[in-house]
């Protein structure tokens, strides 16, 4: 059972230019595919198109069955919306049971709510729920129809940080058992949940691969920036360029994860000045300005140097990748 998607669709709003979305990817049984992209990249429209909410060209096939001409209720999917989209006139329990009279699925709504830690909300109405509670109910509603594919549209992005972290943990468990497509603009969520990632920009797929591919071998400077890698023009390395090339003679940029850059190393590849030190949860993020490199280089350090210090940077050869602009 593999979902094969190869769709294109055009969206036009009053007064705005038409927006064109086209994508081609497959989701294998049991896999979580994450669609990652900046806001406005068309990732939500793509997911809604797969769900059957919008007319589209191309095909959506699930295990060989062509779904393209079927309405949403004929595709055997379920959907978790960014803003929950719970039915406000039904209790949480009624929301969860909503789809069960249409689909062959007999999970007990209250048991599903209990699995997600919100058994006590069964009789509450959605407007009285907090964001995290509402999204758990919405997730239970989607799971209740036992969908062949679960579609999730930024389910964490309306939540505050601690709530988001706790629901992300629960999602990890849920997604281990189902086939799903998960849309997000948050690279940390993508990395935590994805078996494979499709990176979108401006309505187009710009890279498809495992999290390791996308985060450690970005296909373009654009993907590298969006996934948080450093991007350095190869020209900045002078004589050393040939050491850093990984085979592609036409490569123009080197990319490297901030956690892989060595700070204060001997035999530095580049030397720069510490611009800024930001305390993050696990460590500090240090940005280093290097002479003729347009973007400052980010490094993580548990024991960061003070801003203004001159520091040396070395890129471990086995941890760098190259790409073309």
């Amino acid at each position: 059972m593999t979902l094969e998607v190869d769709v294109e669709a055009t969206f036009s709003a009053d007064g705005a230019d038409a927006f064109h979305v086209a994508a081609d990817f497959a989701v294998r049984e049991g896999e979580t595919l994450v669609i990652l992209g900046p806001s406005g990249s068309g990732k939500t429209l793509l997911l809604e198109t797969v769900a059957g909410f919008h007319d589209h060209g191309g095909t959506v096939e699930n295990g060989g069955r062509v779904l393209s001409d079927r309405p949403p209720e004929g595709r055997d999917f379920a959907f978790v919306f960014q803003d929950y989209a719970l039915f406000p006139h039904m209790t949480a329990s009624e929301n969860v049971g909503f789809g069960q009279r249409y689909r062959e699925a007999d999970a007990d709504p209250d048991a599903l709510l209990a699995d997600l830690g919100v058994a006590d909300l069964a009789d509450r109405y959605p407007p009285t729920l907090s964001g995290g509670e509402a999204q758990r109910v919405a997730l239970a509603r989607a799971l209740a129809v036992d969908p062949s594919i679960l579609l999730l549209d930024e389910p964490l992005s309306s939540l505050d940080v601690p709530t988001r972290q706790s629901l992300r943990d629960d999602l990890q468990d849920v997604l281990a058992d189902v086939t799903s497509i998960y849309v997000t603009h948050d690279r940390t969520t993508a990395r935590a949940l994805a078996d494979r990632i499709v990176v979108m920009n401006d309505g187009q797929v710009v890279q498809t691969g495992t999290p390791e591919d996308v985060f450690e071998r970005p296909a373009s400077p654009l993907v590298a920036r969006f996934t948080g890698s450093n991007v350095v023009p190869l020209a900045a390395f002078g004589d050393r360029t040939s050491q850093l090339l990984d085979g592609d003679r036409d490569a123009t940029h080197l990319t490297v994860r901030p956690e892989d850059v060595e700070l204060g190393a001997h035999d530095p590849d580049l030397t720069g000045t510490v611009e800024r030190v930001t305390r993050e949860d696990a460590t500090s993020r240090v940005t280093v300005a290097v002479g003729d490199v347009p973007e400052p280089i980010t490094v993580f350090s548990a024991d960061p140097p003070a801003p203004g210090t001159t520091v040396s940077l070395r890129f471990p050869r086995e941890r760098v990748a190259t790409c073309r602009a």
């Binding site: 809604e48 309405p71 949403p72 209720e73 959907f79 989209a85 719970l86 039915f87 006139h89 579609l151």
Partner: protein
């Protein structure tokens, strides 16, 4: 903390409130209770008030039965929508006496349905009232449908509901208040209509349950006007006060 700007705006706004409120106040204050009591016990007036509430109620039912489906389609969008919207809203700006004449052209002699007699009949009156009232029902129901988040309908569909099931269990229940409001607005509009009815059906014959037989009466606003022409301001004022009380009661229903 309000400042000069606030005071100036409040003052200007109050002028309009006086222009609307004081006539109503004086109208009520200057009524003669005995004249009102006399009219309130007049069986002829009862017939008029019955017709004045009953015919608009039929109108509201017609407006809802056909207006709600139209409103649903308008709220979801379709090609050529703008033309249909214009057609629905046009009766709002058609002068009331012209509306009556248009209905006579459309449904009267030589009109669409030769076998239908509209001039001076209850069906004609309902048609005239529907023509002027339908936009209110359609627009209120449409607003209610539009205020239901699209994604709720998507959520219903993607979890297995057909369009009809999604409408019956989600969109419909969430829009029901708006539909009721639309019905009451159409009712109120029909109760208040004068011009179109005066042209199409000045007097109509209808079945009057308390008498158990067909009787002839005029639509209440027409009767008020008729009384004004024949009996003067005081006579018509008493009947107008009774009709205003009915209208005000319907109005309280809307809010």
């Amino acid at each position: 903390r309000r400042g000069l700007f606030g005071v100036a705006m409040a003052t200007l706004g109050s002028v309009l409130l006086v222009a609307l409120g004081l006539p109503l106040l004086l109208f009520v204050a200057r009524q003669s209770p005995s004249l009102i009591a006399e009219k309130a016990t007049d069986p002829g007036v009862h017939r008029v008030l019955y017709l004045g509430v009953y015919a608009p109620l039929l109108t509201a039912v017609v407006c809802l039965a056909f207006g709600v489906p139209l409103a649903y389609h308008l709220s979801r969008g379709f090609p050529g929508q703008q033309l249909i919207e214009s057609l629905v809203d046009l009766p709002l700006v058609v002068p009331h006496s012209v509306a009556g004449i248009v209905v006579l052209y459309g449904f009267g002699e030589g009109g669409m349905f030769p076998s239908l007699s509209v001039f001076g009949t209850l069906p004609g009156m309902i048609l005239a009232l529907t023509f002027v009232s339908a936009p209110y029902a359609v627009n209120a129901a449409r607003e209610a449908f539009e205020s239901v988040d699209d994604r709720l309908e998507y959520a219903a569909r993607v979890h297995g509901a057909s369009p009809w099931q999604a409408f019956r269990r989600v969109t419909g229940p969430l829009a029901v208040r708006g539909m009721v409001t639309g019905g009451v607005l159409a009712w109120a509009r029909a109760v208040s209509e004068f011009g179109a009815v005066a042209v199409v059906a000045y007097s109509v014959e209808f079945f009057y349950p308390p008498a158990g037989e067909q009787v002839i009466a005029q639509h209440a606003p027409v009767f008020v006007y008729n009384t004004y022409l024949q009996g003067g301001l005081d006579e018509s004022g008493a009947i107008a006060a009774l009709l205003l009380a009915v209208s005000a009661a319907i109005f309280l229903l809307v809010r």
